[in-house]
């Protein structure tokens, strides 16, 4: 079947639903004939019931808000700083050569291990999560944006030059626009770093957030509750992903630039 036809779209969605059904089937099998202990894997029915209660409780939404704004502040500040640094660095060979390996190092290094220090500096509240997540996120964005700005097709720069663009016009109207697709993928990686860092930090030590209530439920051996919260987190991330897709959707550049 051809991509983009109605039948193809239906097939894709069918397969997605089938994958989900398979997961649910495996869960039900483990609960029933599989005889897996309910301590390890609570019954699906109970988890869903608890999830229902969770969604109508104010506690869930309050903590979701804490997690969401921590991520957003971390991501947006890292995106702005990272893009600016990347843009500045990409303008010179020397700068790019100096900064790119640093960015790669920060990207690969487990900066999360600095969390205890951040707790010391900023306390157990959201501030320590926001700063740690912003620091973790800025590196992949710097790296991605250096690469994005340096790989602008010289054809476009030649057009800019031949048609009299000033340096500023070349930067804004040509370079920035031409590097958007690669910038978008740097932002995606950055968003993943922000989400993971904030949630993991909340699980380890915090005063609120989805990671916090998850850790609390686990520590009290309330496994069904923990699973219900996990479902909530998974759905929350799925919504974030949809929002990101919408934000970075390429409308015109079908395959080019």
């Amino acid at each position: 079947m051809k991509r983009g036809t109605r039948g193809y779209v239906a097939l894709v969605w069918g397969l997605r639903v089938a994958a989900l059904a398979l997961l649910i089937g495996a869960w039900l099998f483990a609960n029933g004939p599989g005889k897996v202990s309910t301590l390890l894997l609570p019954p699906l029915g109970k988890v869903l019931e608890l999830f229902g209660q969770l969604v109508i409780s104010g506690e869930f939404w309050g903590n979701l808000w804490i997690t969401l704004y921590s991520m957003l502040i971390a991501f947006v500040s890292a995106a702005v700083v990272g893009t600016l640094v990347g843009f500045w660095a990409a303008r010179g060979q020397l700068r790019a050569r100096t900064i790119e390996p640093l960015a790669v190092w920060g990207y690969m290094a487990p900066l999360f291990l600095f969390y205890p220090l951040f707790l010391l500096w900023f306390g157990a509240g959201p501030e320590s999560k926001i700063t740690l997540a912003a620091v973790s996120t800025v590196f992949p964005i710097v790296y991605g944006s250096i690469r994005a700005f340096r790989s602008v097709d010289p054809i476009y720069l030649r057009v800019a030059s031949a048609y009299g663009a000033s340096r500023r016009q070349t930067d804004w109207l040509i370079k920035l626009r031409a590097s958007l697709p690669m910038l978008a993928s740097a932002f995606r990686v950055g968003a993943a770093y922000s989400i993971t860092t904030v949630l993991a930090a909340e699980v380890l030590s915090s005063t609120g957030g989805l990671g916090y209530i998850l850790a609390k439920a686990s520590q009290l051996f309330n496994v069904s509750q923990a699973f219900a919260i996990l479902i909530g987190i998974v759905l929350f991330v799925a919504v974030l992903q949809l929002a990101l897709n919408r934000l970075f959707r390429q409308r015109h550049a079908a395959g080019v630039g």
């Binding site: 476009y156 057009v159 080019v256």
Partner: protein
Amino acid sequence: MAITATDLGVVYRSQRRGDTVALQHVDLRVAEGEFVTLIGPSGCGKSTLLHALGGLLAPTSGQVAVDDKPVTAPDPWRAAFIFQDYSLLPWKTILDNAAIGLRFAGRSRAERQAKAMEMLELVGLANFAKAYPHELSGGMQQRVAVARAMAMEPELLLMDEPFGALDEQTRQKLGDQMSRILTQNGKGVVMVTHSLDEAIFWADRIVVMSPRPGRIIREIVVDRPRPRDLDFIASDEFGEIRQELFRLISEPVEETAADATAPTGAVALRGGRG
């Protein structure tokens, strides 16, 4: 406006491959409204010469001047480029692509849209103003590139194998259309081509270049008013010029084969840095 290249030389410097002399001792004068074609074996520096004429490339020695004023940077009002690969901006509509020079010049939205629309009408693409480049065929994209250049009302058009990437039929049709437009507007044109027929059919004067280092080895005047009918191709005059060109270009073939690729990667662009 006449454009003059005096003792022009261009050397591409590369640490890995050493220096490549692309142009050497080139003297060329293009008079107002004159149509000049540049022809020669691949890698002979035709495109380099064109880029240097437009100020897109700084010559290593010699100079390019317009009415005795040296050319140091591209100026689309003076000489507008039409590139071989069209090089439209894929994220802009056809109308905005045609208007890009006016956009860079800071003209108002209304003014540049009106001018761009007029030029799209000239090349028969007014219906595609709202489309994006990938929705157009190669021939149509090249017409947009022509409209983009014409929108600047330049005194000179610099065309780098403008029909090189097109199939024979499209080439002829577009060529015919273009020759009428250009002749009616009285524009001076310098066109790089590797097609003998194109070089003769369009030109007031054919400039033949040698393989690298590129030098001008011959200039042939085609003394027949433009625009020309297709009958011209069947004429004796055309046949004679064609034969001579063929001989001039095919002679040093062994030399060319050894280093046929032009070092385009080493071309330093003026203006925006890469």
